[in-house]
């Protein structure tokens, strides 16, 4: 950031700069930046490089020591393992379904919260609650709701005669994965809704009035005005949520611990198990880098889309 700023300053004509120019500010700026450099180096750059270094060795213990160099062996091992690809596939499914549901529900909810009605302030504050819950609490709560013998969901569904008897929700792989999706969507939809709400409030009223004068109906207005103008916001939600969902770990840890039969083991959880439970730190580090590459890939695509999608009123 500061680099970019300094670059911009230099491009300004000399006469516009304060006396003495940017040159003398350099040292002071550096001193002021030093604390953040220390922090960034200590908690971002060093771990990043250290992880990269570790990923090239067959590290199988937490202690420092000499371990055999394996080059890209850990990465190749990952690509060869069926477990790895299964985890990637599950993560992709989780990411796709949670993001899609959160965006669609978020738009609907955002539209609702934008309508003027009595008690809107109350609804707005209630809706934000799930998002305010820590993920761990949310996971624990859903585990209780889904509990097969005394969970609220079974009680509700049997009392409404939707299902004839109590059933197990987290006991089979496919069902469990979908239940985790629901828990995540429940928690994260409000975030999407509030982004949408904020965007809706910036759309000028006269656009709607013009559309109304032209005889456009509600649906037509939505698809021709609201949705196109929401696109940049939707893209931002997509970026944020895809990246977060791809890294999903805590809700899995609390709700299912990757089970049953690894049915909810996402790539981040798989990495954790390999590194900390199996003490294969080299392999774990390589997996962590693979995740980073995937996320970088998403980030690049989205950045391009975003740049294209900028709107001006």
């Amino acid at each position: 950031m500061s680099q970019a700023r300094a670059g911009r300053l230099k491009k300004l004509p000399r006469s516009m700069l304060p006396k003495g120019g940017a040159f003398r500010q350099g040292p002071t700026a550096l001193i002021l930046l030093l604390p953040s450099v220390v922090v960034v180096f200590g908690i971002v750059v060093y771990p990043l490089l250290r992880t990269l270094y570790t990923s090239l060795f067959d590290v199988n213990s937490v202690f420092p020591g000499s371990y055999p160099f394996v080059g890209l062996g850990n990465y190749l091992q990952a690509l060869e393992r069926a477990e790895f690809w299964a985890a990637i596939a599950r993560t992709a499914y989780f990411t796709f379904s949670t993001t899609l549901l959160e965006v669609v529900l978020g738009i609907l909810l955002g539209l609702l919260l934008n309508v003027e009605f009595r008690g809107r302030w109350l609804l707005r504050s209630i809706v934000i609650l799930p998002w305010a819950l820590p993920t761990v609490v949310n996971g624990a709560m859903w585990r209780w709701i889904l509990n097969p013998s005394y969970g609220a969901l079974n009680a509700l569904l049997t009392q409404l005669h939707i299902i004839p008897e109590y059933r197990s929700w987290l006991g089979t792989p496919w069902m469990a994965l979908n239940m985790v999706v629901i828990a995540d969507v429940w928690k994260m939809t409000p975030l999407a809704a509030f982004f949408i709400l904020a965007a809706l409030q910036t759309i000028p009223r006269d656009l709607y009035e013009a559309a109304w004068v032209d005889g456009a109906g509600r649906l037509r207005t939505f698809f021709s005005i609201t949705l196109p103008l929401l696109t940049p916001t939707i893209l931002i939600i997509l970026v944020l949520r895809t990246m977060e969902a791809f890294k999903v770990f805590d809700i899995i840890y609390v709700m299912t611990r990757g089970g049953p039969a690894d049915g909810t083991q996402t790539i981040a959880y798989y990495t954790y198990v390999e590194a900390f439970s199996n003490q294969l730190f080299g392999y774990g580090a390589a997996l962590a880098y693979v995740i980073a590459v995937f996320i970088l890939f998403f980030a690049i695509i989205y950045m391009r889309l975003l740049r294209r999608g900028e709107v001006e009123y």
Partner: protein, 431 residues
Amino acid sequence: MSAGESSGERRRLSRREFLELGAAGTGLLLLSGCGGGQGGGSGTLNALFMKQAAYSDTDVKNMTEQFQKQNPDIKVNLTFVAYEALHDKIVAAAPAGTYDTVLVDVIWPAEFASKKMIVDITDRFPESERSKIFAGGLKTTEYDGGYYGVPWILDTKYFFYNKEMLGEAGVSSPPDTWDGVVEAAKALKSQGVVEYPLVWSWAQAEALICDYATLLGAYGGQFFDGSGKPAFNTGGGLQALEFMRMTLDEKLSNPASTESLEEDVRRIVSQGEAAMALNWTYMFALANDPNESQVAGQIDIAHTPKGPAGAPGVNGSMGMAISNGSQNQDAAWKYIEFMTSQKIQNQYAKLSLPIWKSSYDQKEVVQALPQVVPVAKEQLNDMILRPVVPQYNEVSHTLQVEIQQALTGDKSPKQALDDAAKAVASETQGA
């Protein structure tokens, strides 16, 4: 700092210096983490325990207070984590030497000892003391001829049954074979006493392997053959899984079993929604406690049912070990000696039975759990160990996943175990 003196060249230099400094600093930090010290037998100890119902947080706190009263120059800080998080916590804390004593499960000493995470205490733990402890308990902390801790919790999974429910179904005496269990379950189900007579802790967790080991032992299977090759996919190992799958197929076992841990089993039994289950000792007291259970007084405990090859209980003991990074190993040993002492163990026998053989004939222990002690005396001499390999976690995880695939119907038991055997062979071969 030198950065203040400006000039592009200087600045770049100082940045490199800074990098070096940072790297050196981190290296030092890492170095200081390894290698422990004896300490002077006093000071502050950090102890890592497990959150559980037997020896609850309060129990451990009370024991520790007693210890501190006797040793005013030692202060002990306690940390409790769930069993499922314990292993990873020990691993993550090892390089920093955060904890002086750690609670280790019977399946970990091979891994921790071979990676030098816990200290060999054979010298501090003489034969004269060891001979007073149950052999099954001692195995908990033994690896490669040395001892890496002192057993603290001596436990196995017993067979629990609801005698009133069995009576209602016309089963006069509690089943003592697995075939008998199936028969009783069928009677309970057909007479509508309970929808699912059996419940198990078959979630993807160590609890699943504990139940599997019990059944594998009963059917005469082995985890590994004499040459160290996986052998659980044939004979008793296979029959055990087929038995498990059958009870689910016949709807004798609660389908929620595949997402349940021991605590879920206890709650389901305590709600009267199951008539028979395997669980640790602690369930006896809690399932018969009216505050915790709707079927208080109806739950009885027995030796695990017999299969064709016997009726072993899974060795589920845990021990206290000194971590390698501890700077205060003498004080840590004092603490372990105190916590595992017969006096303390007898005092808290109600939820967790002592490791000491002679305790089982002492009045105060027998009176604490009159129904359990006679059963325990026999079962504790008849236990099966899960495989002792440094890669245990990987092996266990593979087994959990494959067994669950068989239980949830994705694979046949034979297929699942063959796949597991193949994976386990490659996991253990690098040792």
